[in-house]
């Protein structure tokens, strides 16, 4: 069996995001592989190391050139080869799931690992939409996963707690913190990764027509009062804070 793992290159959580002409401008921002995707890459490798009969682990990225770096990271971590559908056009997750579904079928993947939430578009939709296009079940927010034959078992977060599950491949699994601790690529593996295949696919072959337009991006900062209270006298500070919350902010009775 083959595993398809989805990756993207996103601004680091601490990076300053700028807006230019009503669009997000990543120029100068530190970019990294999305941490939630990294869990997916790591989990694919661990499933293979645990003895599951996995022939190939393939990383897929769809988007601008910067995503090559996420694919290189995945290759250095240990995936076998990478596919980059390179496009500068921004497509919504439901549209992008067309590419994921077509690649999964062409590559005979029976398990897709995707990040639980994207650190750039804050979207949780790609895994679920891909599962629907393929007619597969999905497990989202997974923090524990085992594969025995074609049976997946594990645990994932739901609205009011967490559930243990059992499902049969093919399936889509999205990641959550706690799933694993991703490995750092070693220097020899980074060197080896340079020889691995990174295929470039033409987006036109996947027939993408987006349905969602981004018309504006802005940084809305809520004006904060920044009222500071001296904490040296604890009783006085506590009383002053409570008075402000009662009488000025009017948030407590």
């Amino acid at each position: 069996m083959n595993i398809l793992t989805l990756v993207r290159q996103v601004p680091d959580a601490e990076a300053r995001v700028k807006i230019n002409a009503q669009q997000v401008d990543l120029d100068g921002a530190t970019l990294v592989i999305d941490g939630m995707d990294e869990y997916g890459v790591e989990e694919a490798l661990r499933l293979r190391e645990s003895g599951a009969p996995i022939e190939q682990i393939i990383a897929l990225a769809i988007g601008p050139k910067r995503n090559e770096d996420a694919l290189r990271t995945a290759l250095a971590m240990g995936v076998d080869r990478a596919i980059h559908v390179e496009t500068d056009e921004k497509f919504d997750a439901v549209t992008l799931s067309r590419v994921v579904a077509q690649v999964a079928q062409a590559e005979n993947a029976t398990l897709i690992l995707a990040g639980g939430q994207e650190a750039d578009w804050d979207s949780q939709a790609l895994g679920a939409a891909s599962a629907e296009r393929l007619g597969w079940p999905q497990l989202t927010w997974t923090n524990e996963l085992k594969l025995d034959g074609d049976t997946l078992t594990g645990r994932h977060d739901v609205d009011d707690g967490n559930e243990s599950f059992r499902a049969t491949l093919p399936a889509v699994v999205t990641t959550q913190q706690g799933l694993n601790e991703p490995r750092y690529p070693t220097l020899p593996n980074i060197m080896k990764a340079k020889k691995k295949e990174l295929r470039k696919d033409d987006p036109a072959t996947y027939g993408l027509t987006g349905k969602v337009r981004t018309v504006n991006a802005e940084i809305q900062t809520r004006a904060r009062l920044n009222t500071m209270i001296d904490g040296k006298d604890a009783q006085a500070a506590a009383q002053q804070l409570l008075d402000l919350l009662r009488n000025e902010a009017k948030v407590i009775a």
């Binding site: 919504d92 999905q138 349905k211 981004t214 920044n226 904490g231 902010a249």
Partner: protein, 315 residues
């Protein structure tokens, strides 16, 4: 019509449902606001729903006793098609955001995810949403048939409008669930749910220990009738259950007051609470990033300030 899938728990309509009704009213889209109630033994929920909707469709079926993404997607799609809905609104909960994309694919609809505002721009439905770990607010739009998820806490809960809507029972053909649930642990709390709380008290590593977390964070929350939150560091350390985690990989909240005790304010945490109406921070480190977003801040020792706060708030 505008189809809204009602969220409900323990036989009660969730606040998120009332927020979705407001979203529908503000969307500028026309047609009756229709609430779809999926579940088993949901008569009481349907009656509550009728108070705020033009009509209520009730699917009270054994196959809907427990949530499953594929079943919910199939049910919602079937009703949307039969009712020729042009707008389908689903809650931005964990479950809502996992089955809504499936509905969008089934209906070949556009999907606007996690909307914090809705309006019409000509024929297009326009939504605002947060991106880049909630650092950016984007406006996105789509034409025609649109599936929307609505971010909890973004819209005011709808008040009843006029006479109660009519209730209709609906039949559904449901697929068999393919994911078997073999165990469930519900993180029960006697306190108000984080996503519904007006006031939240959150503790970070600066609280010092699991014992201090109970002594300070929980005690203050109880005095204020507040929900209890935790940072990822505290959850990772095993002090508190994951259900209390606020932030990128936990819950997103926007209460009237968010009281952060010993929280430094990492970007991942801010992305989950930065839109709170009032932020109150108590931390011994005056340079902690949390103070930059705070309305009220006390630089001081948690061990002295919080007991004083608990004592004073008891009165």
């Amino acid at each position: 019509m505008i189809l809204i899938v009602a969220e409900h728990t323990a036989g009660k309509l969730a606040k998120a449902t009332l927020e979705m009704v407001t979203a529908a009213r503000e969307s500028g889209r026309e047609g009756p606001i229709t609430l779809l109630v999926l579940g088993q033994n949901v008569a009481a929920v349907a009656t509550e729903a009728a108070a705020v909707a033009d009509q209520v469709l009730v699917a009270d079926l054994p196959g809907l006793a427990t949530y499953n993404a594929e079943v919910w997607a199939a049910a919602t799609t079937q009703i949307a098609q039969e009712g020729e809905a042009h707008t389908v609104i689903i809650g931005g909960s964990r479950s809502g955001r996992e089955y809504a994309p499936r509905v969008a694919v089934k209906l070949d609809a556009a999907y606007l995810e996690d909307a914090t505002k809705l309006s019409s721009n000509g024929a297009a439905l326009q939504a605002q949403r947060y991106t880049y770990l909630a650092r950016v607010t984007e406006t996105v739009e789509a034409d025609g048939l649109v599936v929307v998820t609505v971010k909890p806490g973004s819209f005011a809960p709808a008040a009843p409008a006029g006479a109660a809507g009519e209730q209709y029972d609906v039949e559904l053909t449901l697929p068999a669930p393919r994911v078997e649930v073999t165990g469930k642990s519900v993180e029960k709390s006697s306190r108000v749910a984080l996503t519904e709380a007006d006031v939240i008290v959150t503790g970070g590593r600066g609280v010092g220990s699991p014992e201090n977390f109970s002594r300070y964070v929980e005690a203050l929350a109880d005095n204020l009738g507040a929900g209890v939150g935790a940072t990822r560091a505290v959850v990772d350390a095993g002090w508190r259950p994951y259900a209390e985690q606020v932030g990128q990989t936990g819950k997103t909240v926007q209460p009237k007051a968010y009281i952060a005790l010993g929280v430094s304010g990492a970007v991942q945490h801010l992305s989950g609470m930065g839109k709170s109406k009032n932020i109150i921070a108590i931390n011994k480190d005056a340079e902690a990033p949390i103070f930059k977003v705070a309305d009220y801040g006390i630089v001081g020792d948690i061990n002295e300030i919080v007991p004083a706060l608990i004592e004073a708030s008891r009165k």
